[in-house]
Amino acid sequence: MTDFIGQNSSRTQEIQLQDSIASSERPKPPGALASTLTFATRALLRIKHVPEQMFDVTVFPIIFLLMFTYLFGGAIAGSTAEYLQFLLPGILVMTVSQITMYTGIDLNNDIRKGIFDRFRTLPIWLPSALVGALLVDVVRYSMASAIMIGLGFVLGFRPEGGVTGIFGAIMLILVFSFSFSWIWTAVGLVVRSEKSLMMISFMVLFPLTFVSNVFVDPRTLPSWLQSFVEVNPISILATAVRGAMHGTSTIEQVVWVLVVSVIMTAIFAPLTIYLYRNKK
């Protein structure tokens, strides 16, 4: 390897250094789309270099689906095949909602490592750093969904909504998860470490996903719990996804998911951007 400077510095390399510094043009700052795509590319490259991070969208869904189908199937629905029809849409919702927090964790890491500061001194549309990462997360959510539904078919999942139903269900999940992710980016900007973010998200996600209609029909619950389950956004999404997959979807179900998504985005996206801009 040639040393560009140092004790045996060659004149040409000094000139090269000087040239590379002086010759730089000054292009116009990138548009919002270009910078967003650049950040999305970064997220894709990170997946390429650190493929372990895909465990949460490949291995987890498989474990979850197998575990809950065979654990609860007989007890709750009498047979695993029958329970699967009820469970799969719900557990898909649960799995994808749980992996939304990884966006917050990545952001938190960026802050601690200092690259966040570099991005913030760039003349770019600031939210593109977040939107770009979230777009790639949508790819991750799609992967998790595809793996789960594929495995579901092998196990005997037979949705009546057909391809259109499944496609619609996935779209609902993606819209919801994109909106839900903003919560974790906001939290990720506030908490000090990755660990505390994990803890907070666990404390929120665990009750939210279990105290829902994902595993059981809420009619068997005490009434005070029932009313919580009914307003739980996870239940709202699970109901709509179930409806779409089994062809019993109503406009009301879909609209509720969209309303919840819009509310979450409207609160947490601006909050995230505000925190991002004003992080001390």
Partner: protein
Amino acid sequence: MKNVRDVREQQNTVGWAIEAKGLVKIYGKHRAVDGVDLAIRKGTVYGFLGPNGAGKTTTIRMLATLTKPDGGSARIFGHDLSKEGDAIRSRISMTGQYASIDEDLTGMENLVMMARLMGYKRKAAKVRAAELLMAFGLEEAAKRQVKNYSGGMRRRIDIAASIVVTPDLLFLDEPTTGLDPRSRNQVWDIIRALVNSGTTVLLTTQYLDEADQLADRIAVINHGKIIAEGTSSELKASVGSGTLNVQLVDAADHKMAVDLLEKKLSAPVHVSGDATLLSAQVDNSGLVAEALSDLSKEGIVISDFSFGRPSLDEVFLTLTGHTAGEESKPEEGTA
């Protein structure tokens, strides 16, 4: 021809890159930065010299639009810091204390990303990244993940990322902390090359020789305040005309020698851990010869002495009462 050059030189040197008045940053009850005034000319290197926790980093974070000041005001190239953040961000670049690039990506990928974010088109970004890797002696490491780089290579890729588009003002936060001497020289050469092409550099350092080597002007910061400012020679001169160092042969002469020197020079004598090593600031160099002759009259034998203009180390010691790098943990001592 001469006129053209004169005009260009004027454009380069006339005007301020940074003007700041009374910058304050408070964390809880701690005044991290406590009324900092700055005036930094375009095209110069300005050094912030101070120990850990003196407020150097906080000050440059405020100037780089990363932290909002709690008081005071500043203009960067005439743009108001509090109102024209975007205009400022398009002209500055910052290299933080810790490598601020994506360690999971390769050197090439990092630079291409930065070039894209600076507005280069896809192809031009690749060309620019390759050019920088070559100039910074990193072309062999282009396809390796940055987390596998050595400390010196990291620092270089970090600076390369900051100058994808040569900024008008570059903030360098402790650019050579933790580097071996060879890597440090490489970084110094890069900084000099940048200044040659017209970039204004504001760097923070704990190393006195670094400030001495690179900076046109130096501000010494301690406890959030600038306690001295000027060129390296001005700072040295402010301490007195020079320092007399005397090495005694016999430690038993210590007390008598100290008394004699203090009386003659009318200045306090600093004693380091070694009782035979004495030093004193001297205002009037004419007294040095007399003091030495007094010592010899009393039969105190000295093995060595030196008299010279004070080093920045001594400047720092005089100004703050402790050496650079010595703050809460005195045992880490001398710089």
